[in-house]
Amino acid sequence: MSWDRVPVDLSGIRVLTQKDEFKGERVISYREAIREALSSALGRDTRVFIFGEGVDDPGGVFGTTLNLHKEFGQERVFDTPICENALTGIAIGASLAGLRPILVQMRTDFMLLSMDQLMNHAAKWKYMFGGKVSVPMVVRTIIGGGWGSAAQHSQPLQGLFTHIPGLKVVMPSTAYDAKGLLLSSIHNESPVVFVEHRWLYDHKDIVPPEPYFIPLGKGSLRREGKDLTLIADSFMVILAMAAARVLEKEGIDIELIDLRTIKPLDYDLILNSVKKTGRAVILDFGYKFCGISSEVSSFLMENAFEHLETSVLRVALPDVPTPASPILEKAYYSGEEQIITEVKRVLK
């Protein structure tokens, strides 16, 4: 299928670039795609259940769980107390007993309360017991601030999750991926942190109605190019695509990798591309210091040095907490201009 290639477009509501190819296909939003994946999993597999603060409320977690409790019953889709650590432990226990829990954490910041169960327990449980048991569970969580959400309601913490051995971390950038990766995450034997991005919920894409699975640990080549590789995750893929369009007009031919899964990384895809282009900029919607952009950069340092024409650069969130004021918030988040600047620095 060609979604693997270039399903991203930014012109107004996202329209696909290869329009003709997808004629007559159904286009839905990232939020709807997630809801569809959940609905499909609940429908196909009685072991699946969804819980978390507000999953059955009238907002339905930005619409992603809307009315699922009505469709599948309050016993399988239920609201909970606000006790992130216990909830994460409960997900572990339920998965040990054969169920497939999906825990929803509305903002990633709140997961800092559950690091003990996530990192000391879920991440280690299989290993600690020599593989005799495993913990198939998904924690859905949402990054992306804005509107003065400020320091405690805007944190992208995927860098933390990837640091701890034993967790898989997924960051879909398109509606198509959101559905296929969520289904794969649910049907995976490991604990998966599934990181959604608020700013993507309204983005639309072609999404087949039937269930499909995108393998975890595999990135996607979103755009072929010969001059420089952009390696991006989540919302940064959108910015990268926009930047690539602008750069194209200036005769710069960008190759774009969407990491899709940031742990484990798709090393082959990254390596092959950078071997070809000899230049890279890494884009992560996360903190820079000890983040995904550091990891990918140091991987290239170790494995692609002789293929590199020049430094690999990083674009990520600055090493400061998120401010509230609109002026500061604007300065805080990188836009496509910053990507373009860095690309040009590399190409100079």
Binding site: P81, G148, H153, L328
Partner: protein
Amino acid sequence: MKNLVIDTGILKKMYYYLVKIRRFEEKIIELYPQQEMRCPVHLYIGQEAIAVGFCANLKKEDYVFSNHRNHGHLIAKGVDLKPMFAELYGKITGCSKGKGGSMHMVFPERSIMGTSSIVGGGIPIAVGTALASKMNRDERVVVVFFGDGAVDEGVFYESLNFASLKKLPIVFVCENNFYATNSPQENRQVNPDIYKIADFFLMPGVCVDGNDVLEIYKIAKEFIDRAKHGSGPSLIEARTYRWKTHVGPETDIEKGFRDEKEVAEWVNKCPLKKFEEHVLRNNLLEKKDLQEVGKKIEKEVQEALDFALTSRYPEEEDLYKDVY
């Protein structure tokens, strides 16, 4: 305690703060649609009596901690509206220099050392200041306000245990408005009587009508004095109701999130109305007194707003300041 006579000065002061909170937030409701206060606001309207009844018993040096729904606590503790409005507008003159927004306000001059928007997050921090008060032997009492939602979190219990173990000068005030965002209490807590947890931690626990500022004032006095005199912590559950939607200026009725009748019943128990009726009926204050307060506040609100609107924004390079 029940028969404590509250003097007129205090009554006036409390009325002043009740109205001040209400008007401040009504102004937010009025102006928020202009989209210039670009941060999430959690309105306190309907719950004013609690902040006012407690803070009327506190000195400037006494610490107050709060949560995401913090406007009322700050105003009742004597924080000026100017830096508050400026903070809502993200201005450099904001109490947090525009970095915090509505949920994260600070005012050390009134012993407001910052508010957290993490549910339950402020509770252990408040306990820490109480520990310092005890170690410093400086009689600074701590009052920490939090919602029923915080009772879901383990750190609440850890904090009660520690405070009681060390006999710290702190009063825990749970503002039970029966909801955490849209989750009703019964979805989250097996025991609706939050105050009863105090028993286990060997401290007094009481439940009070959260819309009756005079009742609250008296109970607050008792337990704040108790804390000040070294007898340790206490837990007050004040039952009340949030009129507006969890976040933002709307109500839950238009959104269909809550039952119209339920909301109407509680609006009818308005803490301001209750106070006004009581003081007029019992001739404790005169209509004129109340009107004067209203006027004074109108002026203050307008001045604060002007201050905020004419203040400048932070500079882009401020982004990198204040990290360490």
